[in-house]
Symmetry: C3
Subunit: 388 residues, 3 copies
Amino acid sequence: MAGCCAVLAAFLFEYDTPRIVLIRSRKVGLMNRAVQLLILAYVIGWVFVWEKGYQETDSVVSSVTTKAKGVTVTNTSTLGFRVWDVADYVIPAQEENSLFIMTNMIITVNQTQGFCPELPDKTTVCKSDANCVAGSSGTHSNGIATGRCVLFNGTVKTCEVAAWCPVEDDSHVPKPAFLKAAENFTLLVKNNIWYPKFNFSKRNILPNITTTYLKSCTYDAVTDPFCPIFRLGKIVESAGHSFQDMAIEGGIMGIQINWDCNLDRTSSLCLPSYSFRRLDTRDVDHNVSPGYNFRFAKYYSHLTGAEHRTLIKAYGIRFDIIVFGKAGKFDIIPTMINVGSGLALLGVATVLCDVIVFYCMKKRYYYREKKYKYVEDYEQGLGGEMDQ
Amino acid sequence: MAGCCAVLAAFLFEYDTPRIVLIRSRKVGLMNRAVQLLILAYVIGWVFVWEKGYQETDSVVSSVTTKAKGVTVTNTSTLGFRVWDVADYVIPAQEENSLFIMTNMIITVNQTQGFCPELPDKTTVCKSDANCVAGSSGTHSNGIATGRCVLFNGTVKTCEVAAWCPVEDDSHVPKPAFLKAAENFTLLVKNNIWYPKFNFSKRNILPNITTTYLKSCTYDAVTDPFCPIFRLGKIVESAGHSFQDMAIEGGIMGIQINWDCNLDRTSSLCLPSYSFRRLDTRDVDHNVSPGYNFRFAKYYSHLTGAEHRTLIKAYGIRFDIIVFGKAGKFDIIPTMINVGSGLALLGVATVLCDVIVFYCMKKRYYYREKKYKYVEDYEQGLGGEMDQ
Amino acid sequence: MAGCCAVLAAFLFEYDTPRIVLIRSRKVGLMNRAVQLLILAYVIGWVFVWEKGYQETDSVVSSVTTKAKGVTVTNTSTLGFRVWDVADYVIPAQEENSLFIMTNMIITVNQTQGFCPELPDKTTVCKSDANCVAGSSGTHSNGIATGRCVLFNGTVKTCEVAAWCPVEDDSHVPKPAFLKAAENFTLLVKNNIWYPKFNFSKRNILPNITTTYLKSCTYDAVTDPFCPIFRLGKIVESAGHSFQDMAIEGGIMGIQINWDCNLDRTSSLCLPSYSFRRLDTRDVDHNVSPGYNFRFAKYYSHLTGAEHRTLIKAYGIRFDIIVFGKAGKFDIIPTMINVGSGLALLGVATVLCDVIVFYCMKKRYYYREKKYKYVEDYEQGLGGEMDQ
């Protein structure tokens, strides 16, 4: 018990600090300070100032709504004079983080369930029924083969299929794009972001923006960088592509909103930054179904109960709104981790200088003698001990 | 070779440990231990216990399905007595992480392609054809101007447009909301989460919940915190808004599911926690298109081939299901990083006490003499060396 | 001023290095080196080689498009002989990261607004009007009760509801699935990824893949691991489920694309890896609305203005494309943090050996005497100082 108390007292009331050799040498002293300075500059400059190593970071949680505006007219032999408004060209009417604007289309009107010849291609052209296998269906078939070989037009015979007839002929995509006027349509993007860790939320319609401004502005990287209304043509141009080219076969445009925020500063400096990138690759060498398109149908019913549909292969541009960003705020944990690592690195300065002083310098044996005390493992070695 | 062996032997068989001054002083000893204790308490308490610095973390991967239930009736002059069920008010029928419930609408029935006067506003009211520019189309236009000025009603003349006629009049939003009964509709949210790094998956319908309970329960933060069925009215209320107000112009509600899991403990403690937040901002000062709405149309065709449509401007609440969370599990890497930093910080105690002992205490010169050995750069300095 | 200069000179031109006891002992020396080796092996081996602690990491930003292909025919008494193509079974026509393929359905044709008896169940079966509460509507009701009790069929009476009539009878799900042939449909997934921090982008159609290959290939984990065209049946099988079972009540399949990339190596080694997981849980014990289904309607209008609709309860498989992954690239910050922590850990070797040498070894008192110098707090203690 008494021994235990003595140990505790020794533990509490004793202070141990390493014994130090102070070498008075300009060369070594300056070198040591220079190395320490470099490490300190790195720790403070790079880790703390540049990379903000003293901050806790959080990823953005975001909600996006979009609204397209614009009307255009087309005049074709199939459809006649026709007006197109938002309800016609935005499909589906609403999505979460994206918006599809139809720019081109292949329309097949008045399709009914029935039997009709396939489109001629190398697998469907036939000479007689023997060339057609009943019940078969290829990857690009419009229906199920009946096994009969029928006239497609005056000269060509193709296998007959059970399908929505007449089958769609998508071999020729309209050029220029059917709704080429979509270039001037506008897109309003409303984005609300939230950093859950810091309970910080903000939206891309900034507090200092007036309704009047919002009613008339259009985004421009230089003049109107915070206007959330985008001209479709400009979005595609900013990404380095041609809208009229893209409109023909469709494509996907990323509208990237970057919210990099330093929450140690005032929240009014946390601003969205927009950038645009084409997300589908136009690589002519190995492309299946280039661009972006999908098929949908409008279904109609006669009083007689017979159903018919209008099939539309819609080519267009899908605008994906991609919101990303990181917010940083001072936090004790990463600060301490970085301070700890920095201190450990400062120790490297001593190691480095030790190597130079005790291995490379002329007077190394003299210095070593000062730093080291040799203790032999055997007690008779006491005499051999080189004390200073 | 022999020299090399000697160096290797010295390297392997020598153990170097710093020489220590043990200062027997109550003041200094206690201070040193106190500082060490503080640092230790910080490292253990804050980093390890509070922030779980010993854990590797992973972000959640989630899949969500939703299902709305509820029927209501309306009785208006335009539409007569009408029943509304899920297929009528959920648009589109399915989405990935969100669900739109129509609560209000402006319906324009029997629109056909044609020519008709625009809605009167400051840009469309005209006195003669001279006021209307053929082919022009403003941001809020319903069509393309034909250049004629025609009677809108008995007194007002507006520019004629080629459009779906008659044009939609959305100047008055119905108050109260058309489908105000949506407040009592319910929403079932099924959520399956996965932490890829730990290959841990769970769903929000907990294993101890019975089918009977699920058939009758409604979420309540206090009494039924794990029931995945939400009354729409309650969601909006929990976020501090009024459902009936929100139903008029629409809005976006975030249903946040937080899965913060400590996977070092049993998986049954990894539970979802629901919270609700309004994601669109009701800021009356600078708001373009407040609330949430979009337009869609139902297309009809006559036997004669003439197409007409019913245009619906749907106001409603979009419920975005936002799943987030972090799972933590013991991992050697972050533990070691934090232990390393902690040890480095312990060294700070010695530095701090050294400063006090050797610079501030009365007996500092006496102590310094014990800690430091001065070595001059020149050999004749040997005599000047203050050895102890 | 002069004193200040002296202090500065002392600071700059003095080099302090700890004084070291070198113990020449095979046992202690070897132990020390072994512990250091272990720590070094851990820092280098585990942190740097295995966990790539020298890398900065970034999470993936991704864009996905999907395209389904396939045609099938059905022959039922309700619908007759009917062909189903993409526009019929993909609902909605396009989504951002997912695709729904209808595999089964309950179709209720020619519904009109009106009054009709409810489906008989324990809450709707009635004997007289007294059993039916006018205006009431349960969770599973198809409409609003009128308060009348009417004949459902020859024997059963149920409460009458204002609803789309006749009401849907979804008590029997067709078995086998209506569109069971969907097993052979194919799904093309185009995925474009981006690591913003490293400005690195890639797509899942690899540069060395030819168009010819893409036109004919089907994904197989072993033979065609980079073909982005999936047979639906194979996806479900790979996840360990039966497509035909899943097709009946629907479900959700996750197509996981993992892009784990080491950007320190050539970008051609950054490859997608596909895996499949069923995301909804088939847990028979506590399941509300098992599988995956939703209702939608096609609306038709007669010349007379009367609207009728076809209600479809669509069961099917939703394919969620989940893209995740981390890219790593050498960066000085995490390297330094880990080096710093590693160095601090090396210090642990000395602490550990010190404990053994100065507390456990037989000659501990002899060694202690060499390492420690005791300094008393009082000046008369000078004599008691045990110098070496």
